[in-house]
Amino acid sequence: MNRTLTKPIADDLVRPLFQTSVWFYAIVFAAATVVACGGAAWGYQVWNGIGSAGIRWPVFWGFYLVNFVFWIGISHAGTLISAILRLVNAGWRRPVTRCAEAITVFALMIGAMFPIIHLGRPWLAFWLFPYPSAREIWPNFRSPLAWDFFAINTYLTGSVLFLFLPMIPDFALVRDRSTGWRRTLYGLLAFGWRGTTRQWNRLESAMQIMAVAILPVAVSVHTIVSFDFSMAAVPMWHSTIFGPYFVAGAIFSGIAALIIAMAVLRKTLGLEKYLLPLHFDNLGKLLLLMCILWAYFVFAERLTVWYGNEPSEMAVFWASQRGRFAPFYWTMVICNFVIPFVILTNYKTRTILGCVIASFGVLIGMWLERFLIIVPSLATKQLPYSWGSYAPQPVELTIMAATFAGMILLYALFSKFVPIIAIWELKAGLPSRLDPALQVETSLLSTRLDTEAFSSEAERADRGQP
């Protein structure tokens, strides 16, 4: 009875690796073109000088750093969420984890490019790496940028491993089902995985430890990104709330990105049977929670500033509240709070479409939030004579577009070469596999896979067995 239950799953999830629609090529081509434009824009900027971007005195950080924070924030979709769900053993996580973790890895890779893109002399970027240079000077480990290096590298390493380890059994599965170059490729990727009990046990232990280890790393990464700002005595940057505020915002935007990615995968790869309304409903609730948490942080931050009435902070406060940044600020509030809150509190609108709309709002809103954290503060520092403004230039917009295209490209390729849902985890999560003692509870809490999608007669019989 086992195979009747699990073979269709494997068949469904491996199919995209072997069947390619023309849409795939179209998307890859379009995305690759935009990425190439971004590369050309960067080349132009390096050749011409960083002044091609819109940064200026006193707004020395602009769109590049906004995008840096945004993408690092998006990266909190995966590893963090999947680690939490793993630790609390939420059964509904199983179809979600891999596509979430992939977002993490790609978003981190994209985000980590920005500190290099924004450098004045990017050809010397390696001076940020911890090694003693020719002059035997190490990097300054007191600099938050050095912390960024360690944090992002730890998180990236951890996330890549966290993504890759559970992929090994699935590579083995694809290896066994394929021929030719695929067999060689997946054979290599499978590391000679057989699936012995010992291997399964070690893998699961490792994943548990990794989940424990990566959670604080994920929290630390966005905290340290927030430290890039809060360490400087810049009005409305120098705030202790920034660590948790950034982490909450990161998870918020990460979930939104995950919901959108899942909705797209569900349609394009025909995963309607696996990515169920239930998953969107659950993620939607999580998004709602983060939405409220985000609003709480924003209120706490703004109230503290307003009540404190410190002149330099008030200047920034009003610049965003009702000054020249107000249109962006209120758009952010609508996108980040009003839209998701209205859609997600009502179970009738918390549909897949509703979740996706809310998520788009959150992505726009969170991008604006990063912009509103960075630019108004720099434009309105302590000495009013040095106040300035900032407007992005074409290179910045092109590179920004290229990163979004890059995300699409990487994700399309990833879902082309890797089963986007962890097959073995999904199989292991079938109710028939679970401890009967836990069955009632887990089915309540988590998956309704059996009852909704696989409730064939055979399964009922299977479940009826002692």
Partner: protein
């Protein structure tokens, strides 16, 4: 490599095959179960679940913590430049890097332990059947001393017995 194994569709049957092998006098360590998914709730699925992995990871973390502290201090003292009036070896800001290095040590130690104890990567040549990927559970013994004694133990309804002699 020589091997004898049975392929089973149903984990309950596979459990029975394992039990039969034990009854036939095969040591637990010599019984290999290969599946395309973990079977946590079957006895055969957690026969050697015990591992020192958490302790190794913890120890690695401790080593990473101490080592990163000293590496940082050594690097900072090798060319002591004053910035912002901070100490040459400022503990507060170093703690961040120490933390990251600690966690990185834990993660890397975990993965190395996993690879080492799970025998990965391996170059093949071990008992395996691609049908496992189709959902069959393989229960068998590598390099058996006596095929004849084991085959009956594996040959139970709901299973197929295969013998590898090469």
């Amino acid at each position: 490599m020589k091997a004898v194994y049975g392929l089973y569709d149903d984990p309950h049957v596979a459990q029975q095959a394992v039990d039969n092998l034990r009854a036939a006098g095969v040591a637990d360590a010599d019984i290999t179960v290969i599946s395309s998914e973990p079977f946590d709730h079957f006895e055969f699925g957690h026969r050697d679940a015990a591992t020192h992995m958490p302790w190794i990871a913890t120890a690695a973390g401790a080593v990473g913590l101490v080592a990163s502290y000293y590496l940082l201090a050594a690097a900072q003292m090798s060319w002591p430049l004053v910035t912002s009036g901070m100490p040459i070896v400022p503990l507060w800001s170093n703690l961040i890097i120490i933390f990251e290095m600690t966690m990185l040590s834990v993660i890397i130690a975990t993965v190395i332990t996993l690879l080492a104890t799970a025998g990965l990567p391996s170059r093949g040549g071990k008992m395996y059947d691609p049908e496992v990927s189709d959902g069959y559970i393989l229960v068998g013994v590598e390099n058996p001393t006596d095929f004849a004694r084991l085959e009956p133990a594996l040959a139970i309804p709901g299973g197929r017995v295969k013998r590898v002699e090469s």
